[in-house]
């Protein structure tokens, strides 16, 4: 039994890893099929795992309500809206006020999606605009040379990416070198240089090391050295 609990998963991980790795170099149709089957299986397993997640969420809010933890009343909202949204997607008949079957574009499910889910998602997303401003205001202080570099590049970038930057570039004095006219304050050009040279190089440097890390972890998993995913216990 212990074999099945401890060794067997490692054998499975090893075989799956080696097969998926090796198939990359084999150009036949069967090898493509293997990859397609794997991705399909992956999706299906994740689909079942979703049930676990939902159970966990329901359990979390159910305990909150049962134990009357602070703010438990809000959990009723979560449980209720979950029930309505989930059921609306499965109901095969019309509801009053909706012309279509619930799951389709005219039904309650898509109505809730369009008028509740989407605006809330978009709003949470757009809160970022406020936060990015306050983060810039608070954190961009020229304390050290590195911090100064950070804030100066960020400011140049911000100006260079909007029409104002172009406007300044047009209005600023121009000078001529070898027949070409250059603006003294060409923020857009500066921004694109920052992006294409230092920024690209830095991310390249991080990426090269990062990929070595990825490959190293993948090798550890395949050869059974890394077993975090199995969790603890026996």
């Amino acid at each position: 039994m212990l074999f099945f609990k401890r060794q067997w998963p490692i054998i499975v991980a090893f075989s799956a890893g080696i097969v998926m790795w090796a198939r990359y170099y084999i150009p036949t149709e069967q090898s493509r099929t293997i990859q397609d089957v794997f991705t399909n299986w992956d999706r299906i397993i994740a689909g079942f795992a979703a049930a676990l997640a939902v159970l966990s969420m329901l359990h979390h809010h159910y305990t909150k309500v049962r134990r009357k933890r602070p703010g438990f009343a809000f959990s009723y909202i979560t449980l209720g809206s979950f029930a309505v949204m989930a059921l609306a997607g499965f109901l095969p008949w019309h509801l009053p006020g909706f012309t279509g079957v619930q799951r389709e574009s005219e039904g309650l499910h898509m109505w809730m999606f369009n008028w509740m889910f989407v605006p809330m998602q978009a709003t949470m997303f757009s809160v970022l605009a406020f936060f990015i401003a306050s983060a810039a205001f608070r954190a961009f202080r020229a304390r050290t040379a590195e911090a100064t570099a950070l804030l100066v590049t960020a400011c140049l970038m911000m100006i260079g990416r909007v029409p104002v930057g172009e406007w300044i570039a047009q209005k600023a004095t121009h000078f001529t070198v070898m027949g070409n006219s250059y603006s003294a304050l060409d923020f857009p050009a500066l921004a694109s240089w920052l992006l294409n040279v230092p920024n690209a190089a830095v991310f390249r440097g991080i990426l090269l090391g990062l990929i070595l890390s990825y490959v190293a972890i993948a090798i550890r998993i395949i050869f059974g050295i890394e077993r975090t995913y199995m969790g603890g216990g026996d």
Binding site: W8, V12, F14, A16, G17, M20, W21, Y24, F38, W41, R43, I44, A46, F48, A49, A50, A53, F74, T78, S81, F82, M85, A88, H109, W111, M116, F117, V118, P119, M120, Q121, A122, M124, S126, A129, A145, E146, A149, L150, T153, A154, M157, G160, R161, N196, P198, N199, A201, V202, R204, G205, I206, L207, G209, I211, V215, A218, I219, I221, G231
Partner: protein, 220 residues
């Protein structure tokens, strides 16, 4: 506008303001919005998982196409659900082992082929791009080199290595600054989109016409 759209717009406006109230401070309205959003998103998630995965790939494949292969991942999926039964929880390891092992196998060649080798070749370009191009190329080489040194774990950051990694850190900050400034644009346009919704769809689309009809006409 249909009644559904009008009601929808009002609800959307209400929810938008509720979620925005979060930036003032935590309050009951935001908590209602947050919990509503939570419930709806999980409800949507359930539907997506069922209609896009389980229904076509498992149910349809088995019942209509008589393809019994998806039974294997379905059983592995049920193993994951057995996490809830402590004595059988170990079965879920089979499923994890398959997913994670396979993903690890995919990672190795794909990352090397798609990212590692192209980036390495991109870095190592001959100096044949004119004066400006060559200068850029030299800056890129210095930046890549010093950043890699910054991430070198086997050496203490002292003396030569220390100053090289200092240069690396400096470049890192320039890179991050550029990234930060670059992203501001995208984030601000999201806010513009939301405010456009409030202004055009709600104010100009519903409130203003109603105001004109209800108030102005009567006044005249």
């Amino acid at each position: 506008m249909t009644p559904g759209e009008v009601i929808g717009t009002w609800i959307a406006v209400g929810l938008t303001l509720m979620m925005f109230s979060f930036i003032y401070r935590d309050n009951a309205l935001f908590r209602i919005g947050e919990h509503l959003y939570l419930g709806i998103s999980v409800g949507y998630f359930v539907n997506i998982q069922y209609w896009q995965v389980i229904a076509p790939d498992v149910y349809r494949a088995i019942r209509v196409d008589h393809n019994y292969l998806p039974l294997i991942p379905a059983i592995l999926g049920i193993f994951i659900l057995l996490r809830l039964v402590p004595s059988l929880a170990w079965l879920s390891r089979m499923s994890f082992a398959l997913i994670i092992g396979g993903a690890a196998g995919l990672t190795i060649p794909n990352n090397i082929h798609g990212l590692f080798l192209p980036q390495l070749f991109e870095t190592l370009r001959p100096f044949d791009a004119g004066l400006a191009g060559n200068l850029n190329q030299i800056i890129i080489l210095i930046a890549v080199f010093s950043v890699i040194i910054f991430f070198f774990f086997s050496l203490e950051h002292k003396r030569l290595v220390g100053s090289a990694s200092k240069i690396g850190l400096f470049f890192l900050m320039i890179g991050f600054g550029a990234s930060f400034g670059y992203t501001v644009m995208a984030r601000v346009s999201l806010l513009i989109g939301r405010i456009q919704f409030l202004y055009y769809d709600w104010f100009q689309g519903i409130i203003w016409p109603w105001f004109q009809v209800a108030i102005l006409h009567r006044a005249i």
